[in-house]
């Protein structure tokens, strides 16, 4: 009995202490369990044909490593811009094939695009038919407070000047050029694009918190203007979170049973273990030394 080693005493004491701590700790953890934060990792992509003299195409979007197309857009002609497709963030491939070409055939054009979470992209076939290329254009998704954003994709063969009211947005913009975004005051703007002796006008409404792309197009005998709403949010973000409760069903301190149940179970474990250690009968053989 007296030969019981210090190490054994320390070990048993420590074990008992650990179990006691577990009893309280489990209850504490149950009370303060953090909120699960599952954020959705998605991005957006849209596909466009903006080459005036190129034939219509079939456009394929592949998730990297998956031979089956995520989406297929058939017979996409010049001037077509698809809606945004919401996809899981990651690597994708955009491929263009001649209209009606088998899906297994070699694409005319293809490009890789990395879709970052929370970001949007326009993948457009741009340039003349002879030099057609797929261009990945990053799209903006935030506006300065109370402002609108607008940019121009110049998809006309002419050199084009674009004005908004009396403000010149871009002068003699070359074919296949994509401008950066202009910050504009919200309101209704008269837009005018001129080039090659032709012009087009449109009155567009630019709300605060919205982002637009103006696509200048060649149309038979004139210019065309496609006004795309890229993204929209609240005109004025309200301050803070809304006050939508008066407490009539609010949780009171004893509202949830879980911490108490954990405390009971933890306490039982501690009691049983503690009692077992207290009354454990040591075999002399183990303590002969």
């Amino acid at each position: 009995m007296k030969s019981r080693s210090l190490a054994q005493r320390v070990a048993r004491t420590a074990a008992a202490a650990v179990f006691a701590a577990f009893g309280f700790g489990a209850a504490l953890i149950a009370v303060s369990a953090p909120l699960a934060s599952a954020s959705s990792e998605v991005g957006w992509i849209r596909l466009a044909h903006l080459s005036p003299n190129a034939a219509p195409v079939d456009v394929y979007l592949y998730s990297f490593g998956n031979p089956n197309a995520h989406i297929v857009l058939d017979h996409v002609g010049y001037g077509t811009v698809s809606p945004y497709e919401q996809v899981a963030a990651g690597e994708y491939t955009v491929a263009m094939r001649a209209t009606g070409a088998p899906s297994g055939s070699s694409p005319v054009l293809s490009t890789a695009v990395n879709i970052a979470p929370g970001h949007a992209y326009t993948v457009a076939g741009l340039g003349p038919a002879a030099g057609l290329r797929l261009v990945v254009i990053p799209d903006e998704l935030t506006t300065p407070p109370g402002k609108a954003l607008v940019r121009i994709i110049q998809a006309s063969m002419h050199k084009v000047t674009v004005t908004a009211g009396s403000t010149r947005l871009a002068a003699r913009l070359k074919f296949a050029h994509v401008t950066s975004y202009f910050t504009v005051e919200p309101g209704t703007w008269p837009i005018r694009a001129t080039g090659g002796g032709k012009s087009v006008t449109a009155s567009i409404s630019l709300a605060a918190g919205t982002i637009h792309t103006l696509v200048v197009l060649d149309e038979p005998g004139k210019l065309g203007l496609d006004v795309l709403l890229d993204a929209a949010g609240s005109k004025v973000p309200p301050a803070g979170g809304p006050r939508t409760g008066f407490g009539g069903t609010a949780a009171r301190p004893g509202d949830t049973l879980v911490p108490w149940a954990v405390a009971v179970l933890g306490g039982l474990v501690v009691t049983v273990t503690g009692t077992a250690i207290m009354t454990r009968r040591r075999r002399p053989a183990l303590h002969a030394r």
Binding site: L141, T244, G247, M278
Partner: protein, 228 residues
């Protein structure tokens, strides 16, 4: 009771009482355990007697899909077209059927909330539901004495459907992607009100701890949904 049993077992094995004292931590653990069990049991019985009343919203729950002649809106409406105004909302998963009132901003710059805790409202400064952008709809979790229209909002799960009725008689159908609770002090303004490139919906109510001192909940429950 347990201590008696333990002592009895100890006697039966001819262990000296001194042995027990030689293991003070074991004794402390056993005593603490008994204490925790007792307190926990007391708390359990107290809590089960005063639990939150799980009353349903004071409206008949919706069963099945809504009226069939409401065609679903399948894609974001082209920007050139004017998206119809929202008039009502149905969330079968949590038994919500409410008209939608229009809400602006209060003088303080905060979002107006419905005067009637039984109805939800659409923020007129946000995009219209079904159009490009994130439409914002808010409702109360409760009044001073009972549940409000969004009492069960936090029970929504990814995949649940939200139907927004519009003045053109069509429904915009949204699928829940995320339900999350945020401290009001860390409200994710950009994620809730910022621009998005597709048609989305945000449903907002209160949640978390109720601060009796300020008469306000400390958190907001936000449901993120995407047009189907």
């Amino acid at each position: 009771m347990r201590a008696d049993t333990a002592a009895g077992r100890a006697d039966a094995r001819h262990v000296s009482p001194l042995r027990v004292i030689r293991r003070p931590w074991a004794v402390a653990a056993a005593v603490a355990g008994v204490l925790v069990v007792t307190l926990g049991g007391a708390g359990l019985s107290w809590a089960s007697g005063t639990g939150r009343s799980a009353m349903p919203v004071g409206r008949p729950p919706v069963t099945g899909t809504p009226r069939s002649h409401w065609a679903a809106v399948s894609a974001p409406t082209a920007p050139a077209q004017v998206v119809p105004l929202p008039t009502g909302m149905v969330i079968p998963a949590i038994g919500v059927r409410t008209k939608l009132i229009q809400l602006g901003l209060a003088a303080s710059g905060t979002l107006q909330v419905p005067a009637d805790v039984g109805v939800a409202g659409w923020y007129t400064g946000s995009p219209r539901p079904g159009g490009t952008g994130s439409a914002v709809i808010v409702g109360h979790i409760d009044s001073v004495n009972g549940p409000g229209v969004f009492f069960r909002l936090r029970e929504l799960k990814p995949g649940d459907l939200v139907y927004v009725q519009r003045t053109d008689g069509k429904m915009a159908v949204f699928k829940v992607t995320l339900v999350q609770t945020f401290l009001k002090s860390r409200f994710p303004t950009a994620a809730v009100y910022g621009p998005v490139p597709n048609a989305q919906l945000r449903l907002i109510t209160c949640g978390g701890t109720f601060d009796v001192a300020t008469g306000s909940y400390l958190s907001n429950v936000v449901v993120f949904a995407v047009l189907q």
